[in-house]
């Protein structure tokens, strides 16, 4: 009991400590110097209408690569942690209701398509590789729930995951060779502003990210849903 109140007291003190962040900080009056540059020059330099995308894919591209790596590591880690012992039995196939099954079979291609749409239009509209990847992943989750394919083809996923990652890194290196630096998206022509095929390599990179993220997320979920024993 005492411990409970002690914790509350401690949290009170902690909250008190954080108070200056609320009381002493005023919101931005104008854009920060960095943001000003992104907003002012970004569209011209990179040709992306979605400034967040240009920041994510190019200006802070290394973050994004790292982020992909984080997800990759997490997927590997989860898979690693929940690995099955060598001679595990085959997972029991669960039967889902017929409606869900047929619904899923019908829905899945649409979901997949939507995901692809999102990452291809990342430089134009909200959303991008991550969001697209998530959508793809949720489509596959649907499949899982429906039990259409309890055993997702590991090999295909593997190939997608590995290759998209490797190509992403390779594109980054191309940036050094063809443009100004690692992960520079200006290896492809900027194209016409606002078009689908514009903004240099951003759509391409976003696609790769989408594929990789999707594959990774599926990996995580797959590892989670697989039955032990």
């Amino acid at each position: 009991m005492i411990k409970k109140y002690a914790v509350l007291l401690l949290l009170g003190a902690f909250a008190l400590m954080l108070l200056p962040f609320v009381t002493e900080v005023t919101p931005f009056e104008e854009l920060s110097p960095v943001a000003q540059k992104y907003v002012k020059d970004g569209p011209d330099e990179l040709g992306s209408a979605n400034l967040v995308s240009s920041v994510i894919v190019t200006y802070r591209g290394l973050d994004t690569l790292g982020e992909v790596a984080v997800l990759f590591i997490a997927a590997a880690g989860v898979g690693f942690m929940l690995r099955r012992r060598g001679d595990a039995k085959k997972p029991v196939k669960r039967e889902a209701s017929g409606i869900l099954r047929s619904g899923t079979v019908f829905l899945f291609p649409l979901v997949l398509l939507y995901g692809i749409y999102i990452f291809l239009h990342g430089h134009l509209t909200p959303g991008g590789g991550f969001q697209g990847g998530v959508v793809i992943a949720s489509g596959i989750v649907l499949l899982l729930l429906a039990g259409v394919s309890a055993k997702i083809s590991g090999t295909v996923l593997h190939w997608i995951e590995s290759l998209s990652g490797a190509v992403y890194v390779a594109l980054g290196v191309l940036g050094i060779v063809l443009a100004a630096g690692f992960l520079d998206n200006r290896i492809l022509p900027a194209g016409e502003f606002g078009r689908l095929l514009s903004a240099g390599a951003i759509p391409l990179i976003y696609s790769l990210i989408g594929l990789k993220v999707g594959a990774e997320l599926v990996g995580i979920i797959d590892a989670m849903q697989k039955d032990e024993l």
């Binding site: 949290l11 009056e29 907003v39």
Partner: protein, 117 residues
């Protein structure tokens, strides 16, 4: 949007409260994800400028007026990354939880005292 900043911090404190007071590992992870949400809110609210729109240029917001019309894209970009990382960490924590439960048969953090002193 100071209000949202405050909300973010409140969520953070509540999340930590959960982490400190709940003995169930899953609850601790939930607390952690609430903290995460709180942080993301704080971050995005920092990038907000009053009465501005999203940093996406289109017909309504042209290149020229963008500077005065859009909010800061940087915090958004950061939060995007943070969210994904949060998911990664949460997933790994859950994997730990599953594994711990498998080996220990319990989700109580007080039971994980094999090592001390």
């Amino acid at each position: 949007m100071t209000l949202i900043t405050i909300l973010g911090f409140i969520l953070i404190v509540i999340g930590i409260w959960g982490m400190l007071s709940q003995s169930n590992i899953i609850k601790i992870i939930i607390g952690f994800s609430i903290v995460d949400t709180g942080i993301h809110l704080v971050m995005v609210s920092i990038g907000y400028l009053k009465d501005r729109t999203a940093p996406i240029l289109d017909e309504t917001v042209g290149k020229a007026e963008a500077l005065a019309r859009v909010v800061d894209p940087v915090p958004s970009a950061l939060v995007l990354t943070a969210i994904v990382i949060g998911l990664a960490v949460t997933a790994l924590m859950l994997a730990y939880a599953v594994k711990l439960h498998e080996m220990k048969g319990s989700l109580d953090i007080h039971d994980l005292k094999e090592l001390k002193w």
